[in-house]
């Protein structure tokens, strides 16, 4: 039993890390958001694994569900009304 559990943990952690990396590194924003939603679901699984059912419920409903919906709707807003790149800044702010 213990070996199987370790395998599950290993897979879960690897999945989490991989999803996190690709959610941020994906070229297309939409793909990034979808990966982020899947990442949210996997997190819910991780909470369940760590005997935190309350958080698993909350994560599933808020983390994956609502955040995903919000992100997708904002993405729709931005891609449909493309304006000039982020606002011109009249101050030579040092970084990014």
């Amino acid at each position: 039993m213990n070996g199987l559990l370790w395998l599950f943990d290993g897979l879960l952690v690897a999945g989490l890390a991989w999803l996190a990396w690709w959610a941020l590194a994906a070229t297309d924003l939409f793909k990034g958001i979808v990966l982020f939603v899947v990442f949210g679901l996997l997190m819910a699984l991780a909470w369940a694994r760590l005997q935190a059912p309350d958080i698993a419920l909350a994560e599933a409903a808020i983390g994956a569900g609502l955040t995903g919906a919000l992100l997708l709707s904002t993405l729709a807003r931005i891609s449909s009304a493309p304006r000039s790149p982020p606002a011109q800044r009249d101050d030579r702010s040092p970084s990014e």
């Binding site: 309350d54 419920l57 808020i62 569900g65 609502l66 709707s73 729709a76």
Partner: protein, 253 residues
């Protein structure tokens, strides 16, 4: 030059991660924190689910501030939405005053709501309400509670707005705002009551504690549902109002 900066920063992040990792590993493996103290005082808190006890009784002050954060976020998002488009929060009369012809349909990006969606929502609605009510009730002795129930209700709200877009704008804006603040008022109200009797703020003890906590949780569930719904609606793309906005931008500013 950028590559150097980028890799340099990546090394820095790895160092940070290694340091934090080492710190985490150096923590004592056997350790049971406050779980015993919580278990010992659980019966005085009026609920049996330890997480709800901590959330609403032992560290109730945190949750009170957090409800404030939610209310604030909803208000801030509402204030970022321009006057004409604030179907959500916004100042009711201001909105009506500008859009003149009142609220026409509020369509969403996805195509006209097909039969499947409205049918599904009509089927699911009672169950979702039942489940969230159950989640709220079960929170006192098993995993569940205000946040989860509120989130579920909010998702139901989102589904309904997706189908029938005229639902939200028809409800009076002051009602929406009262619902928004309801959670905080009930929580602060119940919290201030013990202050009158010389006890500390948010001190719920004795037999009524369970019921008081349930009352607070119901109010919070309603507020959380309202907040999360508004967070979604204010951000959603509302093509009809955009049309007015585009026309206004053309003529106005």
């Amino acid at each position: 030059m950028a590559i150097l900066k980028r890799t340099g920063f990546a090394v820095l992040v790895m160092l940070l991660g290694a340091g934090a990792g080492a710190a985490v590993l150096s923590l004592p493996p056997e350790w049971n924190g406050l779980s015993d103290t919580v278990a010992a005082r659980l019966d005085e808190s009026g609920v049996t689910n330890p997480v709800t006890a901590v959330l609403l009784n032992f560290r109730g002050y945190d949750t009170l501030l957090e409800i404030c954060v939610l209310m604030l976020a909803a208000f801030a998002v509402g204030s970022f939405v321009s006057e004409r488009r604030s179907a959500g929060l916004g100042t009711g009369r201001g909105a009506a005053e500008t859009s003149g012809q009142g609220h026409r349909g509020v369509e969403l990006p996805i195509a006209r709501p097909g039969r499947v969606l409205t049918g599904l929502v009509r089927l699911l609605a009672p169950w979702i309400i039942l489940v969230s009510g159950y989640l709220l009730w079960v929170g006192s002795h098993a995993p569940g509670g205000a946040f989860q129930a509120g989130a579920l209700l909010a998702s139901l709200g989102v589904l309904i707005v997706l189908c029938d877009h005229r639902l939200l704008p028809r409800t009076a804006s002051w009602l929406r705002r009262v619902l928004l603040a309801l959670g905080f008022w009930v929580f602060a109200g119940f919290g201030l009551v013990p202050l009158m009797f010389g006890q500390a703020l948010l001190q719920f003890s004795g037999p009524a504690a369970g019921w008081v906590i349930l009352g607070i949780e119901t109010a919070c569930t309603v507020s959380i549902a309202m907040v999360l719904l508004l967070l979604f609606v204010c951000n959603a793309r509302l093509p009809s109002l955009d049309a007015d906005a585009d026309r206004a931008r053309g003529t106005g500013a």
